[in-house]
């Protein structure tokens, strides 16, 4: 589904991504973890080309993501992206946030988009908040609307960039529940997250990154029980001591 081959990215001298080669299979849920500054957010942002790469190739359903002639706007409708800071549009109600892409990009009528949008808001448990504006919603609710918005174009892949890191602890669960239900429905997902319980329960594989490198990948059970690299061992023991 998503193939990374020898992906490299530099910010000036800084080598942000170094020779990343891996693959996310169809229906697979991959959790990308690692210390801050390890390049995990950068990696996930290269998949919908919010970040450019300098060397290597990323293919999504066979499409070369960083090809110069790619119709980027059309391509991006196939990848849902959920941000740490939600980034809902504050001048639009929840339902309008969800309907924006189907109407403006997908060419759907307002009525069609609204019907679908309400179904999506219902799926994240917020149909009753359709008319609310983002500032009237809690952080957890905003992030769930953001997930509904990302789902609006029926993307086959969803990317999550630390979706619960900006939330108060009591709101983390509601967002993870929505993500779990997506995973159960067979969505292909790449999630950058520090929620190790989510990784353990939901993910098929964990990718561990450090200093722009993919240090180790493995099934969550094995990774958490018996990490291979010293760096991952240290990372996990640091996590547990908190």
């Amino acid at each position: 589904m998503i193939q990374f081959s020898k992906v490299n990215k530099w910010y000036g001298e800084y080598h942000a991504l170094a020779d990343i080669s891996e693959e996310v299979g169809k229906g697979e849920v991959v959790v990308v973890c690692g210390p801050s500054g390890s390049g995990k957010s950068t990696l996930i942002r290269t998949v919908n080309r919010l970040e450019e790469i300098q060397k290597g190739q990323i293919k999504l359903e066979g499409v070369d993501v960083h090809h110069k002639k790619l119709d980027l706007n059309k391509f991006r409708t196939k990848v849902g992206f959920v941000f740490q800071q939600f980034n809902l549009f504050p001048h639009m109600s929840a339902i309008d946030n969800v309907c924006l892409a189907p109407v403006k990009v997908g060419g759907k009528s307002k009525a069609q988009a609204r019907e679908k949008g309400m179904a999506l808001l219902d799926r994240v448990g917020l149909a009753h908040k359709a008319a609310s504006y983002p500032q009237q919603l809690s952080g957890g609710q905003q992030q769930r609307v953001a997930i509904a918005r990302a789902l609006a174009m029926d993307p086959p892949v969803m990317l999550f960039d630390e979706p619960t890191s900006a939330l108060d602890p009591e709101m983390v669960g509601e967002v993870l529940n929505v993500m779990k239900s997506l995973a159960r429905d067979g969505m292909t997902m790449m999630c950058v997250t520090h929620e190790m319980n989510f990784a353990r329960e939901v993910s098929n594989r964990v990718w561990f990154m450090d200093h722009g490198r993919l240090v180790e990948t493995g099934k969550p059970d094995e990774f958490f029980r018996n990490p291979q690299s010293d760096r991952a061992k240290r990372f996990l023991s640091d996590l547990r001591s908190h």
């Binding site: 919010l50 706007n73 800071q85 892409a101 403006k104 917020l126 908040k129 990302a150 529940n177």
Partner: protein
């Protein structure tokens, strides 16, 4: 002073209209609205060029903005007075000259307000829109400009106030706006300059002060909308995710 007020007030407010050309405060306001109204779309275009990643747009627009901001308004009046007829190859009325001047001048200043408004928005707004598949144009039109312009409303009203005052430069090229009308009244009366110009100042002050108050009300409303609207928790009992789905 009261006789001046009652006798000459009509000419200060509307000039010789309806027996002659419209002038006075009415013309001042028309000039301001025209100046700002035409400058507005131009300032958005300039601001988009200024924030563009492409140097072809960025550099010329930056040069224009800095040049216009770097010369006094009266110089700009002279420039358009001599340059515009040369460019279009015909005579141009003083009114048009003044409008062109105001538009160029205000577009340069306002474009900086618009640019600041665009740059003040979190980067995530544009990223979220682009991630949904909206192109640059749609992102600007649907997401960035509506928010930036809304936040800029108070600054735009202040800019309108400046424009009202700046139209008085029309005096030097004999546009019959408020200041010109007042100086004509003064010439007719000859001996009462203090009263005439006190009246003139008062009229400017009343207009600008009301607009300032208006800007403050708008500013307060915007702030209330931004900070208020506390998180409402009512209705969460319908929330199946909170109930454990």
């Amino acid at each position: 002073m009261w006789e001046i007020f009652s006798e000459h007030l009509p000419s200060l407010l509307i000039g010789q209209y309806p027996n002659g050309p419209l002038g006075g405060l009415a013309l001042t306001l028309i000039l301001s609205v025209l100046g700002l109204g035409l400058a507005f779309p131009l300032s958005i275009a300039l601001a988009l060029c200024r924030t563009s990643p492409y140097a072809v747009f960025r550099i010329p627009s930056t040069v224009i903005v800095y040049m216009v901001r770097g010369i006094p308004l009266v110089m700009l009046v002279f420039w358009s007075y001599f340059l515009v007829p040369g460019l279009i190859g015909g005579t141009v009325s003083a009114f048009t000259t003044l409008v062109v001047t105001l538009v160029v001048y205000q577009a340069a200043y306002m474009s900086e307000i618009v640019r600041a408004g665009i740059e003040a928005l979190p980067r995530g707004q544009a990223e979220a829109a682009r991630s949904l598949g909206l192109g640059y144009g749609r992102t600007m039109k649907e997401i960035i400009l509506p928010q930036a312009l809304y936040n800029m409303l108070p600054s735009l009203i202040s800019q309108f106030i400046s424009t009202v005052k700046e139209t008085s430069i029309g005096y030097v090229i004999s546009v019959h706006e408020l200041t010109y009308s007042a100086s004509q009244v003064n010439s007719a009366l000859l001996t009462r300059p203090l009263e005439v110009f006190a009246t003139l100042s008062l009229i400017y002050f009343v207009v600008c002060y009301s607009l300032t108050q208006c800007a403050q009300i708008v500013d307060k409303r915007i702030n209330r909308r931004r900070t208020g609207a506390a998180v409402s928790t009512e209705g969460n009992s319908h929330d199946p995710v909170l109930q454990g789905q």
